[in-house]
Structures are given as structure tokens and as C-alpha cells.
């Protein structure tokens, strides 16, 4: 009981901004983990990061115009994802170039909008919020929209689950089975835009990559089956996000009057989870090698 009291600072469960953060953050973590597993498998991690950077332009614009920032993030992310799928560049190097150029252009727009926001004083702290998130200031009105986006993204991935796996192995194999691989790419791109927008809303556009790639990487390292990889990724994302919210809330009591940013804790937890996954994977691999070495011995001894 005392330990729980130490972990959960007073008022954690009755605080409205905490509720909102737990809901929206949890949704973002689950969607990012699920979509992230496929994004990494498809070798599109960099594209995922670029979408996030471009989406920050939408977030910044919505502060300037007084719109719902989630709409801004989502609009720009969807635009960028659609653009990339439309361009349909097959060559990996060429795709990296396009992605990099798009990322730069997106961040340039963000710089412009944030500059205007700062000089007109229309939204103080917009830069920090857009780029690095501010979970305890998420308006409660966003919750239904955020959850709807989360459900839509998960439903889309569930619908194309098997064709998505085959395309990750080989697009030729998928196409030979009658799958329309461009359509699969488009649906995955949309789900990615949804995931990125949700994460941008919570941990900020720049840090959203951490929620997209970190938990997915842990899941892919630790499990040999897609279902288990997904489960591990989701669990990692949720623990990091909710743990980060808890730690940030507690931090108001460590340094009275001034808490630490939630995003910092989330990113640190994701990083630790990734390290732990690497360690576990190595231990497991050694176990497999030892077991394999026992019976055969390769005639050396």
C-alpha cells in the first residue's frame, strides 16, 4: 500500500488532464505500435519519421488559425502519405531522397508557421507543444475524435493483415496471389498517417517516431511470429506511455511547482525497452546456439 502511495502521487486517478492524457496517449501508443511493426517490416521507418515532420506543419498552422491541432496534424500527414504513395518510387535510394526532401520542406513550413505564431503572440508555447508534445494540456474535447482515428487505423490494419505480411516478404509474391499491392501500400500509408497524427498530438511531431519505431523494434526482436511481435510492441508502447505520464505527474512532487515533460519520460522508457529487448534477444540466441551445439558437436571433439 505504501509502495503504491509512493508510485502514484496523490490525485493521479482523479485528475481530469491525467485522464485525457491516459486515453489519448494510450490510443496513440497502441496504434503506433501496431502500425509501426508493419512500417519497420516494410522498411519504411524513415518515411514514418518524414510524415511526422511534415505533419508538424499542419499542427503549427492549426495553432495559428485556432483549429483543432489533431485535424492539422492528420491533414498534413495524410497529404504527405498520399503524395508518397502516388509518386510510387520503387528504387530504395530514390525513395530516401524524395522522403528527405519532403521532410525538409515540411519542417520549413513548420518554422514559418511557428514564427508567425510567436510574433503575433497567438499561441505561446506552440513550438514546444507542436514539436515535443504537452500531454497534460490536451483538451478533453479531442478524446472522441482521437479514439475514432485510433479505431479506424486498427481496423484498416486488421483488414489487410495477411496481404500486408505477404507484401513485406515480397511484393511479387503478393501480386502473384492476386493482391493489389499499391492498394495495400495506400491503406498502410493512411494507417501510418493516422498513427503519426495521434502520436504527434501526444508526444509531439518530432518524438512521434519514438512511439512508432521503438516498441515495434522490440516486438520484432523478441518474437518470431507476427501476432506475438504485435503484442509485445503494444505492451511496450502502453507501458512506456502510461509510465511516462505517471512519472511526469509524480515529478511535480520531486521539483515542486515545476513538473518534467511527459515526452521525456516516454522516450526514455521506450529507449530502455529497446535496450532490454536487445539484451533478451541476445540471451535467447545464445540459449538456442547452446542447445543446437549439444547434440551435433560438428565432430570437433
Amino acid at each position: 500500500m505504501r509502495l503504491l502511495g509512493l508510485m502514484f502521487a496523490p490525485g493521479f486517478f482523479s485528475n481530469a488532464p491525467v485522464h485525457t492524457a491516459l486515453l489519448v496517449g494510450g490510443g496513440a501508443a497502441v496504434v503506433s505500435a501496431v502500425v509501426g511493426v508493419f512500417t519497420v517490416m516494410r522498411g519504411q521507418s524513415f518515411a514514418g519519421h518524414a510524415l511526422a515532420d511534415v505533419s508538424s506543419a499542419g499542427g503549427a498552422a492549426s495553432y495559428l488559425l485556432g483549429l483543432n491541432p489533431l485535424v492539422g496534424f492528420l491533414g498534413m500527414a495524410a497529404l504527405a502519405a498520399g503524395g508518397m504513395e502516388w509518386a510510387d518510387v520503387r528504387d530504395a535510394r530514390e525513395r530516401d531522397l524524395l522522403t528527405g526532401v519532403m521532410l525538409g520542406a515540411g519542417l520549413g513550413l513548420t518554422a514559418l508557421f511557428l514564427y508567425f505564431a510567436a510574433v503575433t503572440g497567438s499561441a505561446t508555447g506552440a513550438a514546444i507543444t507542436v514539436l515535443f508534445g504537452s500531454m497534460f494540456t490536451i483538451p478533453a474535447s479531442i478524446v472522441p475524435v482521437a479514439l475514432a482515428i485510433a479505431v479506424a487505423a486498427l481496423a484498416a490494419i486488421a483488414a489487410i493483415y495477411r496481404p500486408l505480411l505477404v507484401s513485406a516478404v515480397s511484393e511479387d509474391l503478393a501480386q502473384a496471389q492476386g493482391t493489389r499491392v499499391r492498394l495495400i501500400g495506400l491503406v498502410h500509408g493512411s494507417a501510418l498517417a493516422f498513427a503519426v497524427a495521434l502520436s504527434a498530438m501526444t508526444v509531439g511531431a518530432i518524438l512521434s517516431t519514438a512511439l512508432l519505431i521503438g516498441p515495434a523494434a522490440a516486438g520484432l526482436r523478441l518474437a518470431d511470429r507476427p501476432g506475438r511481435s504485435l503484442a509485445i510492441a503494444v505492451l511496450t508502447g502502453l507501458i512506456a506511455t502510461w509510465g511516462g505520464i505517471l512519472l511526469a505527474y509524480d515529478s511535480y512532487y520531486w521539483t515542486p511547482g515545476r513538473g518534467w515533460p511527459v515526452s521525456f519520460f516516454i522516450v526514455v522508457l521506450v529507449f530502455l525497452a529497446y535496450l532490454l529487448a536487445g539484451l533478451l534477444a541476445r540471451v535467447r540466441l545464445r540459449g538456442v546456439r547452446l542447445a543446437a551445439a549439444q547434440p551435433s558437436g560438428c565432430g570437433q571433439h
Binding site: R162, P163, V166, A168, A174, Q175, L220, P226
Partner: protein
């Protein structure tokens, strides 16, 4: 005969951006037949196989694949180059399972019947020992077996394999060839297999399709692999030589070709004493 063929190709022409790759290609493969598709690099083997699966659209001609009555595609396909990434969290077993239902929408539900069918296929290709290992961690020969199982698990009437023997050592080549012959008899599946060396296939092939110079000749191996036939196909004289049961196709003008190529590149010839 035409109606019963597992595959029949007629008057097939394919070109890429104006460059003719295949012209008037014509051949048939009967049910359960083992057919080798032989030709030098760039002769259009991959292109032909892709056209049969529907990954490449021909300019002209007709490709008919025997429907198996149950509807759906009855072609299994193993592409030439697949790099199976170690990041992909799929066991060999999962890859075979995706051969069965990989194009379906939605999340798969547990099914005993499906698992049994996958297990049977894994045993049939001799993959029982590594069925539960991650696909990216398997050796080239093991991956080849799994891809064959992926393509065969739906019991297609026609199995297309693009250079499945490349990058395999002599023993693995022999094992895969014997395996494919056995499977084609067991499942009555016609096989069209591309390779640039016909020798490992000579003991098992019922038929050969030889591609060169945009054209094809097909028939029994001893009808096609002859000096007159291949010389006509290539458009210049080649010698078909048999040494210790192996067949070698030699371009008689090879030395002249190389001298001509050297002469076209005077910088290099200058440095050769």
C-alpha cells in the same frame, strides 16, 4: 490436347519501351509435366514467367492456364530474387500458411484443418526440422524449399519456378530437383522451371522450352538440344556437345566475338600485350 494442357502459350509477344523481348512464343505444358525453361541471361525467362502469373502484360498473344474447377488462381509462383529479411517475424510455417490464405482480408482465425494442410506440405518438402525457425535465418536451400511449399500449398495445377537452383551447391540442387519431380507426380502439378544450365534437369525433364534471340523452341530435350535446332534459334552457329552425359552449348564464334569486343574498346586493347 490443347484443352487438356496445364499451360498453353500462343503467339506471345512482349516488349519493354519499344524493345522486343519475346516474339511469337508458342508452347504447351501438359498436366503433371516437368518442363525446363532454358536460355542465356537476358533471354526473357523471368519476363515469360511473370507474364504467365500476370505481373507483366503482353503486347500480343494468348496465355491459358488450366482452371482447376475450384476457381481462383491455379498458378503457384516462386520469384527469382527474394531477399528474406531477418527482421520479418515469420516462421517458415507462417510463410507456407500465407501461401494458402495470404490474399484474404481480415485476421486469420485458428483452424485445425489449415494447420494440418500446412504441416503436410512442410513434411512434403522436407522442412519438418526447420518449420519453426524464422524464415530470414534459414539457408538458401532451406528458404527455397519453404518458397516451394508456399507456392504449392494451394495445390495449383501449374507451378512456376524462376531460377530456383541458382546459388545452391551441387547437393542442394540435386535434392531440390528430385523433390520437385516427386511433388509434381504426387500432386499432378505441371512444373515450368527456369535455369540457365539444363544439365541438372536432364534426368527429370519431360520437355524443354529453349529461349534465345526473342524466340522459343520447345519439345523433348533430344529433339531441341541439337546443333541444327539451336543454331537456327540463335541465328548463328552453335555446337551442342555431349561430354560424360553433360550437354554443353558452345558458340562457335566465341573467340571472334571477344576479339571484336576488345577491338571496339581500344583503350583496353592498347594495354594488353
Amino acid at each position: 490436347m490443347t484443352d487438356a494442357a496445364a499451360l498453353s502459350v500462343a503467339g506471345l509477344g512482349i516488349s519493354f519501351s519499344g524493345r522486343q523481348i519475346l516474339k511469337d512464343v508458342e508452347f504447351q505444358v501438359a498436366p503433371g509435366e516437368f518442363c525446363a525453361l532454358i536460355g542465356p541471361n537476358g533471354s526473357g525467362k523471368t519476363t515469360l514467367l511473370k507474364a504467365i502469373v500476370g505481373l507483366v502484360t503482353p503486347d500480343s498473344g494468348r496465355i491459358a492456364v488450366d482452371a482447376d474447377g475450384s476457381g481462383g488462381t491455379s498458378v503457384g509462383y516462386v520469384p527469382q530474387k527474394i531477399s528474406l529479411d531477418a527482421h520479418i517475424p515469420l516462421r517458415a510455417r507462417d510463410v507456407v500458411m500465407l501461401g494458402l490464405d495470404g490474399a484474404r482480408l481480415g485476421v486469420p482465425l485458428p483452424s485445425r484443418a489449415r494447420d494440418a494442410r500446412v504441416e503436410e506440405m512442410l513434411q512434403a518438402v522436407g522442412a519438418g526440422d526447420f518449420a519453426d525457425r524464422r524464415i530470414g535465418h534459414l539457408s538458401g536451400g532451406q528458404q527455397q524449399r519453404i518458397l516451394v511449399a508456399h507456392a504449392l500449398v494451394r495445390r495449383p495445377r501449374l507451378l512456376l519456378l524462376d531460377e530456383p537452383l541458382a546459388n545452391l551447391d551441387v547437393r542442394s540442387v540435386a535434392e531440390i530437383v528430385a523433390l520437385l519431380r516427386r511433388l509434381s507426380l504426387q500432386y499432378q502439378t505441371a512444373i515450368l522451371l527456369s535455369a540457365h544450365d539444363m544439365n541438372p534437369l536432364l534426368p527429370v525433364m519431360d520437355r524443354i522450352v529453349y529461349l534465345a534471340n526473342c524466340c522459343a523452341v520447345s519439345g523433348k530435350a533430344d529433339e531441341v538440344v541439337r546443333t541444327e535446332v539451336l543454331s537456327r534459334l540463335y541465328g548463328y552457329h552453335v555446337d551442342v556437345v555431349r561430354v560424360h552425359g553433360r550437354v554443353v552449348v558452345i558458340a562457335a564464334h566465341e573467340p571472334e566475338e571477344i576479339r571484336a569486343a576488345l577491338a571496339r574498346d581500344p583503350v583496353h586493347t592498347a594495354e594488353i600485350p
